[in-house]
């Protein structure tokens, strides 16, 4: 009970001011520990301080038979990126995975060497000492001169953020498979060429040897053979055998694409563009450089055979072919392009990537409303594999099939459940005793810690005990991709019942005894009502870490809270791994069910299209709200913009250091992958980098506009209600800037370009107002300029005019509330991209209101035949005012949006439809600063 004096004490003003920082310290258990690494200037979300590279990169390594594992190249090819990171060491790590028994050579019982068409393998590796986590894609290329004809390579996507790798495993796998396929196709072609040359050589050699033998026979009239003759005969025999062997190899390599075609997963590499042949090196044979596997094995006439020495050079003397030589220049360049594409795609924070994927998928479903404020062009973007021009061709049907599947299941579907079943766990060194003894202590101490802190310690522990090597194979290409389609579907609850099905199977494994952690493959992804979550805050914070720290290999699948199902799934693996039962239960408890926004989530689930994305196991990062870990608890009832501003004010201090360099990056939160300079979001997902930059700039300009112009509200109202706003000014740059700023408020009229014209110098006509809703207009002093102004006066009823020179605005009055929320000049939002998102969220609310309004039958049409029109009108207005809570002019905004929705919906696909101009006869007012 609080007694009166206490209350008084706290309300006395002078004391409050003085003692603001001298209040008695909070009890220990309530205090927030200081960020332990604040001194380093690092951001608090950087879990792994030790990462030695600045941003994610792709590394291609080879296990050379001469020198062992060696890095070949990195993408981006920039020394700064890898920094002090030891590429050689990491190559050793990633190449030391004996991922598959790929026997090449003479199999027992076979007369000829057999080419083994090995599948690629895909592995996730972690090295917490280096602070590096990698998706590793192993592949083998054929080389006639190599041992066993194979050269093992690998491509690795290296990131400091383990979650990123885990979350994006499926995407990474798909993308890298394409790159790999491209490389291998080129390699097969080159290999076949090489074989043909070799065969010619052998043929020639045989002829030469044959002739020599014949000559010797003739010269030798004696009854016996000389040693020389025997030697020659042996040589001839071996050459002949070699010919047969090579012919067989050629046959094998030629038959490869045909065999593979039956496999629907196979995408033969088929370059289309004849121009690309120019890329092919001049040293290449023209016929050989003919791209495409269909022409791969054509005869090469211009080759002059060489005599093959019986004894080939010593293994270490010969120079191995470079990757480029192995794969044919054309294909090599294509692969590099693809890898660059991958690098761009996955650039940035995982939160960002995930959010982007989720919002993309959700947006895609809003087919009725999404055109209004979103840039839908990127939604229509073909799936990357289609886009990638190389990967089309022979198996067209197969590709189509795959694409249709892919379009059904958008990017968010990260069906990690699929490789749960295909996981092979290869514990090379198990040091569980040590871990088990060590970790409980740690976890106890850690339990009471705060989220980020704990995170940090967690990583630290991992790093400190990193020593040996254990490798985990998450899935081979065959098992992984083969199962994705079928099994993942099956294992995912399509329509989860509230109590049972909301959480998804997750298998979470940790090989924590050393530096290579294999991370949770399928973290919790689920949803629960918000209140559940709030009531168990500590559990949320602690459980995963207990789990994590306790080490050992562990599979903790969660199909649903029904524990049995989950356990069944793992039962076969339990012999291999030690399962901490307590952890399992903990994970299945509803605490881990993550609330997701109802609006987007439900329909997705029901369609079976968007399943809940895999979420990082840190609760703070879970789900859609992964971006706001520190406000997880608070965020429940907050409106997005409140969250935004609070969040930003809170975190601004902390990340001051990085503020400048990434001042416009979208993802403000640095997580483990806090490769600060690399916050540029992946352009591939957004359509174009330019589009993203545009958003940031527009957001920034819009913020400035709102702060600068007190009459921003009526101006924005004009745009939202479809009244064309003309920005009039002498200075082109200033006008364009204003137009850019305001363009984010302009609803699209169709799926095409925004109705925004940045700069016009000629007289405006009525047609322009139909076409453009935001126009930058030149004010000129010439006679033509007078005409321009005259036209503005004439058409003033269709226009709002923002005079950028005299800072005036002439437009109708606005008394609503929506725009006030949209454009609060006292907003705490500092950054353009944040503000852009804030605007998007408010506009999305408007869109949903417009959607409701548009598609409510009784609001527009009479319920019965006899019902008079007035009652429908009354009902409509009541709905807008009471149900949608719109006031005054806000109604017009929603009505306008509804009108756009109607037009969009009823428009037949083929015809463009006449753009119509709607307007009101309302008086305008002149606003001045």
């Amino acid at each position: 009970m609080i007694s009166a004096p206490d209350v008084v004490a706290f309300t006395r003003e002078e004391e409050l001011e003085d003692d603001l920082y001298r209040e008695p310290p909070l009890p220990e258990e309530y205090s927030v520990p200081l960020f332990p690494f604040a001194g380093q200037g690092a951001n608090p979300w950087a879990k792994v301080a030790g990462s030695k590279f600045t941003r994610d990169f792709i590394l291609i390594s080879e296990f050379s038979e001469q020198v062992g594992p060696q890095p070949l190249l990195t993408i981006p090819d920039d020394a700064k990126v890898s920094g002090t990171f030891d590429l050689n060491y990491f190559s050793l790590r990633i190449m030391s995975v004996d991922y598959q028994a790929s026997f090449v050579g003479h199999p027992p019982g076979s007369a000829y060497p057999k080419l083994n068409f090995v599948e690629d393998s895909k592995v996730v590796l972690g090295d917490s000492k280096e602070g590096a986590f990698a998706y590793v894609h192993h592949l083998t290329l054929y080389d006639l001169e190599a041992r066993g004809f194979v050269r093992p390579f690998c491509m690795a996507y290296i990131s400091a953020d383990e979650h990123k790798i885990m979350q994006q495993f499926q995407e990474l796998s798909t993308e890298f498979s394409k790159a790999s396929e491209c490389l291998k196709t080129g390699n097969r072609k080159a290999f076949a060429n090489e074989l043909e040359k070799k065969l010619k050589d052998l043929d020639y050699t045989r002829t030469v040897l044959h002739n020599e033998t014949e000559q010797q026979k003739k010269a030798n009239d004696k009854g016996y053979y000389t040693t020389q003759a025997i030697e020659k005969a042996n040589e001839l025999a071996s050459v002949e055998k070699s010919i047969i062997e090579h012919q067989d190899l050629l046959r094998q390599i030629r038959s490869y694409p045909y065999r593979k075609l039956k496999d629907s997963e196979f995408h033969p590499y088929e370059p289309q563009c004849a121009l690309d042949r120019a890329d092919v090196g001049s040293d290449q044979d023209p016929a050989a450089s003919e791209p495409g596997e269909t022409h791969l094995y054509t005869h090469v006439p211009s080759y002059t055979p060489k005599l093959i020495k019986a004894k080939s050079a010593k293994c270490f003397d010969k120079k191995l072919k470079t990757l480029e030589e192995l794969c044919d220049v054309y294909f090599f360049t294509q692969t590099l392009d693809q890898l660059h594409h991958i690098e761009r795609t996955f650039r940035g924070d995982v939160c960002y990537l995930l959010t982007e994927q989720i919002s993309r998928a959700l947006l895609k479903q809003q087919s009725v409303t999404n055109f209004l404020f979103e840039d839908v062009s990127f939604l229509d973007e073909k799936p990357p594999e289609k886009q990638y021009r190389g990967c089309q061709g022979l198996g067209q049907e197969a590709i189509d099939e795959k694409c249709s599947e892919e379009s059904l299941a958008p990017k968010v579907v990260i069906s990690l459940g699929s490789y749960k079943s295909s996981v092979e766990c290869v514990p090379i060194k198990m040091e569980q005793e040590m871990d088990d003894s060590e970790e409980p202590k740690m976890s106890e101490s850690v339990m009471s810690e705060q989220q980020e802190n704990l995170d940090y310690l967690d990583a630290d522990i991992k790093g400190s005990i990193s020593s040996g090597e254990s490798i985990e194979v998450l899935g081979t290409e065959k098992s992984g991709s083969g199962l994705t389609k079928s099994e993942s579907q099956a294992s995912l609850p399509v329509i989860p019942s509230p109590q049972a099905g909301r959480s998804k199977v997750g298998s979470r494994r940790t090989v924590s005894e050393d530096s290579i952690e294999v991370l949770s493959t399928c973290p919790s992804e689920s949803l629960i009502p918000e209140d559940f979550k709030a009531s168990y805050p500590s559990a949320i914070n602690e459980e995963p870490y207990v789990d994590d720290d306790e080490g050992g290999l562990r599979f903790t699948p969660r199909a649903n809270p029904g524990v049995d199902d989950g356990q069944d799934d793992v039962s076969k693996q339990e012999s291999l791994v030690q399962v901490d039962a307590a952890c399992c239960i903990g994970k299945e408890s509803p605490n881990f069910l993550e609330p997701l926004p109802e609006l987007g989530q439900k329909p997705c689930e029901e369609d079976g299209v968007v399943r809940i994305p895999p979420q990082p196991y840190r609760p703070g990062e879970q789900g859609l709200r992964g971006g706001f870990p520190s406000h997880d608890g608070l965020s429940a009832g907050l409106l997005p913009y409140e969250l935004d501003s609070r969040y930003l004010t809170g975190s601004r201090e902390v990340s001051k250091s990085s503020l400048d360099e990434c001042s416009d990056s979208t993802s403000y939160i640095s997580s483990a992958a806090s490769t600060c300079s690399d916050r540029t979001p992946s352009p591939a997902r957004l359509g174009s980098a330019a589009g993203e930059r545009h958003r940031k700039r527009a957001g920034q300009n819009a913020l400035r506009f709102i702060r600068q112009y007190p009459f921003a509200h009526p101006a924005i109202y004009s745009l939202l209600s479809g009244r064309t706003l003309v920005v009039l000014g002498e200075d082109e740059n200033m006008v364009k800037k204003l137009v850019t700023a305001l363009s984010i408020f302009v609803p699209n009229c169709g799926v095409y370009a925004k109705p925004v014209k940045h700069w016009v110098t000629s007289t405006l006509h009525l047609v322009d107002f139909q076409k453009w809703k935001l126009i930058g207009l030149q004010r000129a002093v010439s006679p033509a300029g007078v005409n321009v102004l005259h036209a503005l006066g004439r058409y003033s009823r269709y226009l709002s005019i923002l005079d950028a020179d005299s800072k005036t605005l002439r437009c109708p009055l606005y008394k609503g509330t929506v725009v006030a929320r949209l454009a609060d000049h006292r907003t705490q939002i500092k950054r353009g991209s944040t503000y852009y998102m804030h605007v998007q969220s408010i506009l999305t609310q408007l869109c949903s209101k417009a959607f409701l309004f548009t598609f409510c039958h009784h609001l527009h049409l009479p319920i019965s035949e006899t019902e008079p029109e007035e009652s429908v009108v009354n009902r409509r207005m009541n709905f807008l005012k009471l149900q949608l809570g719109l006031a005054n002019e806000d109604i017009k905004i929603v009505q306008y949006l509804a009108e756009l929705l109607k037009l969009h919906y009823i428009q037949e696909p083929g015809q463009g439809g006449n753009p119509l101009l709607r307007f009101d006869y309302v008086p305008s007012f002149l606003y001045k600063i």
């Binding site: 009525l766 139909q770 049409l861 037009l903 919906y905 119509l916 307007f919 006869y921 008086p923 305008s924």
Partner: protein, 441 residues
């Protein structure tokens, strides 16, 4: 007097949505209604477009004339022909007349035996013939056979034609009004004849407009602002007005206005009528002439900034006018309740009747006026969209209003509310068709 203006707030103006129809490459001068939802437009580019007034869709583009179109008339099918077809006849400055089928958009037939440009076309549905007026007057049947023609009338040509009862037509030829009678000769039904019956020379200047009010009356207007009401049966002058423009009869109007009056500004540009009144577009003004009272009951001297080119009476006591200034205005003829004690209002709405005006007549009118209701034209809305002279408009009732202009555009003005609910209807129809109304569970 300055032009009356209306603010941006126009509660009574129903047109809150517009569609711009593009296609013409020159001045669009003519709009003609084909049926309930179609109309044709033609102009100086020689192209005729057929439009759907509901959707604004361009239905057909008719090419055939090499010069500007001078006249256009619809020739909807009569019960004589078997199949129903909508035809339009167009005349052009290339001295041809073309028959078009509106359904297929094809040219049916072309006549090119004219000695001069055909300036007006009239269809006499009753007789199933059509008349072309140029330097002479020709009568044609549906199959484009020339039935008969008059002798050469004048180089200037027939400027207007109107059908009168008893198989007569009135043709405006310069200052003269000539009455012709059509007759099928006794020898055979196909043998037609056209005879000049009477020549009326009451107008002091060229007759600029000619309109039939009802079966008993027709009205002519001339360039110097004379308005004559004729009896359609015996072709006698029933009443006449001139000095529309003469503000001297109005004691409250400043005399200097009179000085600035030019003939152009007193020209009767267009006439239209309902049963009671004749509405005349004279210069910049609009005048309402009551046939019973035989006087102007209401006027708007400066209805537009520039010459009024076309006016039309709507069923709901409203009047629409369009002008060279590029605007379209909607007027309403209102009755003013006037207290006897109140002085005669002045200003914009000076209500003045005038007969063969002199002071006495005025006084008499004034006295009469005290007992009769006083009318005035109230501006209820204006449509601004064209950037040049609005040549003509077509009123489609609730479907909207089509205006054509010298800026090559046609604008469809529509009632936004109505269109919105129509779209909703379409939307729910489409939803039902697509099966989207079913809940997807």
């Amino acid at each position: 007097s300055s032009i009356q203006t209306i603010g941006e707030e126009q509660i009574q103006n129903p047109y809150t949505e517009l569609l711009v129809l593009k296609g013409h490459q020159d001045i669009v001068r003519f709009l003609v209604q084909i049926d309930d939802c179609r109309f044709a437009s033609a102009g100086d580019d020689g192209i005729i477009f057929l439009w759907n007034v509901q959707t604004g869709e361009k239905l057909h583009e008719l090419h055939g004339h090499t010069h500007k179109i001078t006249a256009i008339a619809p020739f909807s099918s009569s019960d004589v022909t078997d199949e129903k077809s909508d035809l339009i006849i167009t005349a052009s400055a290339d001295r041809t007349v073309i028959f078009w089928d509106c359904t297929s958009g094809r040219q049916i037939q072309k006549v090119s035996c004219f000695h001069s440009t055909v300036k007006c076309l009239t269809v006499l549905q009753r007789l199933n013939v059509w008349l072309s007026g140029g330097s002479d007057l020709c009568v044609w049947n549906r199959k484009l056979d020339l039935l008969c023609k008059t002798s050469h009338l004048t180089d200037a040509g027939v400027s207007a034609l109107v059908e009168l009862p008893k198989n007569c037509v009135a043709a405006a030829v310069g200052k003269e009004l000539i009455i012709f009678r059509l007759s099928a000769s006794n020898n055979g039904s196909e043998d037609w004849n056209i005879l000049e019956v009477k020549r009326l020379v009451d107008h002091q200047d060229n007759i600029s407009s000619l309109v039939s009010v009802n079966d008993l009356t027709f009205v002519t207007g001339s360039h110097i602002g004379e308005l004559i009401v004729w009896d359609a049966l015996d072709w006698t002058k029933q009443a006449s007005e001139c000095n529309f423009w003469d503000s001297s009869v109005h004691p409250d109007v400043q005399p200097e206005i009179k000085l600035s009056q030019s003939p152009h500004e007193t020209s009767v540009q267009h006439l239209t009528s309902d049963e009671e009144c004749v509405f005349a577009a004279v210069g910049k003004g609009i005048y309402v002439y009551n046939l019973q009272m035989k006087r102007v009951i209401a006027c708007q001297r400066a209805a537009h900034d520039s010459s009024v080119l076309h006016i039309e009476k709507l069923p709901n006591r409203q009047l629409i006018s369009c002008s060279e200034d590029g605007s379209v205005r909607i007027w309403e003829l209102r009755e003013k309740q006037q207290l006897p004690a109140e002085p005669v209002p002045t200003g914009f709405f000076s209500m003045w009747g005038f007969g063969r005006s002199n002071k006495q007549a005025n006084q008499a009118a004034k006295k009469m006026q005290e007992n009769t209701p006083v009318y005035f034209l109230e501006l209820v809305g204006d449509l601004i969209g064209h950037s040049s002279a609005v040549q003509m408009f077509l009123y489609f009732g609730e479907l909207g209003l089509a205006t054509c202009s010298a800026d090559h555009l046609i604008i469809l003005w529509k009632d936004g509310e109505r269109e919105s609910s129509l779209r909703s209807l379409t939307l729910f129809k489409k939803l039902a068709k697509n099966g989207d109304l079913l809940l997807k569970l």
